[in-house]
């Protein structure tokens, strides 16, 4: 399959990109998800606005509280330790297990969030880390919690004309414990169960992903296999068993 005809716009800055995002135009970054969708003609945008060449979207900044990663930083750059660590090497370890190296070389953290595949690592992990998603549109900037940004399967809070320009991830407090597990048929394959757990003095958070929809966020006392069991009542029993197993293992990794 080859894509339906489209115009390709390559703006030189984010402001120009936003101007270009008129009706039907879509942002393309690494193209690791949108590329196949174009080829399968599942997506037929009139205009593609390519953004992964924009320096504003490829930067990294950090301060005492958080690390801010430009939307077009690749999984490979994160896996290779080219962005500051939020603690325990969490981001690099997640990134290095995303798909295959060829995908990591092109795929971006912002693109992954905007595509909002329920089985995507960043969708689950950034929700668990309580990252902020920074958006810019014709009316200015705004920011949302990752949990609020992801609205459902392949659905986000991105408004027309808006682009995601960075993700701001809180640094892990020194006493925090992290656990991340996913179950895949093959290394690099889409996960059919995933769970991320973050525990420290003031926070208890677990996120279950690959549910086919919005990730399930458990907080406080609900962070347990029992809590997840009741939340996943409607799931196919086999899939529920897998999700609970993965959660149990993530909890164990986090020392819960």
């Amino acid at each position: 399959m080859k894509p339906a005809p489209f115009e390709l716009a390559r703006p030189t800055d984010v402001a120009a990109a936003i101007t270009l995002l008129r009706d039907g135009a879509r942002v393309i970054a690494g193209g690791q998800s949108l590329g196949p969708m174009l080829n399968l003609r599942l997506a037929q945008p009139g205009t593609l606005v390519q953004v992964n060449q924009l320096p504003e979207l490829c930067g990294v900044a950090s301060d005492a509280d958080s690390v801010t990663i430009g939307a077009c930083v690749t999984h490979a750059a994160i896996a290779d330790g080219l962005v500051p660590d939020i603690g325990n090497g969490v981001l690099a370890r997640v990134a290095e297990n995303i798909a295959y190296r060829a995908v990591r070389n092109r795929g971006t953290i912002g693109g992954s969030l905007c595509h909002a595949d329920p089985a995507a690592d960043w969708v689950t992990v950034l929700t668990a880390l309580d990252a902020m998603v920074l958006l810019r549109g014709p009316d200015g900037e705004r920011s949302l919690r990752a949990a609020d940004f992801i609205r459902g399967p392949f659905r986000t809070a991105l408004a027309p004309g808006e682009i995601l320009f960075a993700v701001s991830i809180p640094r892990l407090p020194p006493d925090s414990r992290w656990g991340y597990e996913k179950a895949c048929r093959k290394p690099g394959d889409f996960a059919h169960a995933m769970a991320a757990v973050l525990l420290h003095r003031t926070v208890r958070r677990a996120v279950i992903g690959a549910l086919g929809g919005k990730p399930l966020l458990l907080q406080g006392d609900a962070v347990s296999v029992e809590g997840a069991t009741s939340a996943l009542q409607d799931l196919d029993p086999v899939m529920r068993h897998m999700q609970l197993t993965v959660l149990r293992r993530a909890l164990a990794k986090a020392g819960a």
């Binding site: 080859k2 894509p3 339906a4 005809p5 399968l40 889409f190 059919h192 068993h241 897998m242």
Partner: protein
């Protein structure tokens, strides 16, 4: 070290492959060439009420004047033939069936045209499940009285089944529909040569001569007006052993449009329209004595043959083989097998590497492990009780297969030793319920290079006879070998040259193997059924021996010695008083005919010779596979911890190449066992339409098997070689299923359906 038979010389063709210098279909560029895109059925079963074409070069069945449908008959009694339209016009019978073809400057533009074609379907109830197909009121082919291409029945001493038996194991087993996935998909480039008034069609095929014969029939052209070239072909496995509707369309279009056209299959076309193999369903009962000695097997097998009988192997080859190979390498007294080739709204079945054997082996060997558990024996012990013993070789089995040679029990013992079963049992005893360890083994044989007598019985459009080869010297002393087969990964450019080297001693660097081109090679049924090393190897050997005689006569003259006093070898003719290089003999024949002896063969240094083995019932290579797996009983994940193979391919022409065949086949067998499945929903839609959904094993899923070789020569073939191309793919489903079942037996779980996915493992565990 020599370069002849038995030497692990590096493959000659690898230089161009590894440097990216191969030429595959998609590498071919012809002036004025335009791309084709097909409009394919989005529904499984429907009548076509109307087609609206957009402006542009769009062709439907009514436009292809004079084109006949593809018909692959079988001579087996009761076979119902189907007419497979090149483009569907009245009815579609599977998702992906071509309906229209669009021509444009690029594939993308051709797809734009295809997207604008509107088709009015009247949907019909789909026939999706093969067992339901047998009794369904909905019929695929309106003039048939049911959906059965062919029913076969064979029985030997069935009265035994009525007598009591200590062990009776009955199992229902299923294998999944798969999609053969060579790295290079199918592809066609077609052009009309006005000077020669000849169609030149490049196609990624295993059978160039058969494609020519089939094309000529569909197009109404003399066969001499068609030249089929298979350039470098990036894997076949049976996927390219077929006459394609796309080939017929491309051939018609180039002739009538006056410019070259090409069609390159993409992964979506392959996955959605060509999941076409391996789907079997068995109701199998094994009767045995208390000590595990087999009494007999009683089976009913259904093969999902899809919508049409594909050319040339037909819709019934697979099921017909099931009936004849189900007894495996074992002796037994009674046998009964009924098979059905069911027509369903799925792509037509093709024979995939191992043809029926990987499913048959799975069904029989999983049942034999159940016998072993009932008898309280280790899995290999029950097999050793029943394997054909070496002293009875050659052995005619209960379905009249002639096992030519070998020591099956030794093969099994060697693989059990290699896997170190006692140590596996110790680790198993220490394992927890959360992570179980299991051991599984299997032994099977692989019939190869079976010829005229076997295929004449099936009566399909292609019956192999004598295989021919041309051996010809060039004036500078080089040797060209021309063969009608096609090498697409088997390394035949190397191994056939090794055969010639064995006889003539000409260095491999001076030997070229010409193949895959109907203009340059003798007729052949092509590359399938692990036949090439026996058949084309035998033909090359025969031609080289004749060539050797002719060389000897000229050489003797040059040496002034009697012909019977010289011999050919090491690239020279040697006599009592010295030797003369073969290159000098060639120079004399071509450039200095005045120096030739009077008794020289006027045929010169070019020989066409034909070959058949002493008996054409086929060589039987065989192998035992043993696997150790771990099963995560909380997630259902299976890991292969160890994999050992003992294989007997008779005399190995090139052991390294044989290892490659075994490893590649094993990788595909692991796919069959654990990953590959094309599920269809109730409406007949294929659900694995991308490689994210249709899982193939990759580097992380395929362990490096430990391979041990026995080399029992075949008494039938020229050097004792046996066909060996498919065995790797046959064993893994049985060995791995048995290993998983061994791991889970203490938990009371047995899996009998492939692939064994985490979901299936967990579902079985949770259902306890």
């Amino acid at each position: 070290m020599g370069e002849g038979v038995g030497q692990s010389v590096p493959r000659l063709e690898d230089d161009r492959y590894l440097r990216g210098k191969g030429e595959f279909i998609a590498d071919i560029r012809l002036a004025g060439m335009r791309d084709l895109a097909f409009v394919r059925s989005p529904v499984a079963h429907a009548r076509i009420r109307g087609i609206r074409k957009p402006p542009g070069a769009v062709f439907i069945a009514q436009d292809l004047a004079g084109v006949q449908p593809i018909v692959a008959m079988s001579g087996l009694p009761g076979f119902k033939p189907s007419a497979q339209p090149v483009l569907a016009s009245d009815k579609v019978r599977h998702v992906g069936e071509p309906i229209a073809v669009c021509v444009a400057a690029t594939r993308a533009e051709a797809e734009d045209l295809a997207a604008a074609v509107e088709i009015d379907f009247e949907e019909l109830p789909p026939v999706v499940d093969m067992r339901a197909a047998l009794t369904s009121k909905t019929k695929l082919h309106d003039h048939w009285d049911n959906n059965i291409f062919l029913e076969t029945f064979v029985e030997v001493a069935p009265e035994r089944f009525a007598q009591p038996a200590s062990i009776v194991v009955r199992r229902h087993l299923r294998t999944a529909r798969q999609c053969m996935s060579p790295l290079e998909g199918r592809g066609v480039v077609a052009t009309w040569d006005r000077r020669l008034e000849q169609l030149l069609i490049y196609t990624s095929t295993q059978l160039p001569h058969i494609v020519r014969t089939g094309l000529a029939g569909c197009l109404g052209l003399d066969q001499a007006r068609i030249r089929v070239v298979a350039p470098d072909v990036g894997g076949g496995f049976g996927y390219k052993g077929i006459l394609l509707q796309e080939e017929v369309c491309a051939a018609w279009l180039t002739r009538h449009l006056g410019h070259p056209v090409r069609w390159i299959e993409d992964r979506r076309e392959q996955l959605t329209g060509n999941a076409n193999c391996r789907e079997h369903d068995y109701d199998l009962t094994v009767y045995a004595e208390a000590d595990g000695t087999l009494i007999g097997i009683d089976a009913e097998a259904v093969v999902d043959a899809g919508a049409y009988s594909a050319y040339p192997f037909s819709a019934c080859l697979e099921a017909a083989q099931v009936a004849s190979i189900l007894p495996g390498p074992y002796t037994m007294r009674a046998y009964r097998c009924r098979t059905f080739s069911a027509a369903t709204n799925k792509p037509p079945i093709l024979p995939y590497r191992g043809v029926a054997r990987s499913s048959v082996c799975f069904a029989l060997e999983v049942s034999l492990d159940a016998v072993a558990r009932q008898a309280g024996l280790e899995p290999h012990e029950v097999r050793l009780r029943n394997l054909v013993p070496p002293e009875q070789m050659p052995f005619e089995n209960i379905t009249n297969k002639l096992f030519d040679s070998g020591d099956y029990p030794q093969c099994l013992r060697r693989v059990i030793d290699a896997i170190d079963l006692p140590s596996v049992r110790r680790r198993q005893a220490e394992a927890t319920d959360a992570l179980r360890i299991g051991f599984g083994c299997t032994i099977f044989c692989e019939q190869a290079a079976h010829g005229t007598s076997v295929y004449a019985g099936w009566g399909i459009p292609m019956i192999p006879g004598f295989e021919q080869a041309v051996a010809r010297m060039t004036p500078d002393g080089g040797l060209e070998l021309r063969v009608g087969i096609q090498s697409h990964g088997q390394g035949l450019e190397t191994t056939l040259a090794q055969v010639a080297n064995e006889i003539l001693g000409i260095p491999l660097a001076s030997i070229r193997v010409v193949h895959g081109d109907t203009a340059f090679t003798p007729y052949s049924t092509g590359t399938w059924g692990s036949r090439c090393m026996v058949m084309a190897g035998g033909a090359v050997g025969t031609a080289c021996r004749e060539l050797s005689d002719r060389i000897a006569r000229i050489g003797a003259h040059l040496l002034q010695a009697p012909t019977d006093a010289v011999h050919v070898g090491n690239g020279a003719v040697s006599g009592p008083s010295g030797s003369v290089p073969i290159a000098e003999v060639a120079r004399t024949w071509y450039l200095r005919p005045q120096d030739l002896p009077t008794d020289v063969s006027p045929g010169g240094l070019e020989v066409t010779a034909g070959y058949k083995p002493l008996r054409d019932s086929g060589t039987f290579s065989y192998a035992a596979h043993a696997a150790v797996v771990s099963v995560d009983t909380e997630l259902g994940d299976i890991r292969i911890l160890d994999y050992a193979i003992c294989e007997d391919g008779g005399t190995l022409i090139n052991p390294t190449i044989v290892d490659g065949q075994v490893i590649g086949g094993t990788a595909q067998g692991i796919g069959t066992a654990l990953y590959e499945a094309m599920p269809y929903d109730a409406s007949g839609q294929p659900l694995g339409s991308t490689l994210a959904d249709y899982l193939l094993p990759g580097a992380t899923e395929v362990p490096e098997p430990r391979i041990d070789h026995m080399q029992t020569p075949s008494p039938l073939s020229m050097f004792g070689q046996k066909g060996i191309g498919e065995g790797g793919a046959i064993g893994p489903p049985a060995a791995l299923a048995n290993a998983v079942n061994d791991a889970l037996a203490p938990l009371g779980v047995e899996l009998t359906e492939l692939p064994i996915t985490p979901h299936r493992v967990l579902a079985a565990l949770l259902a306890r």
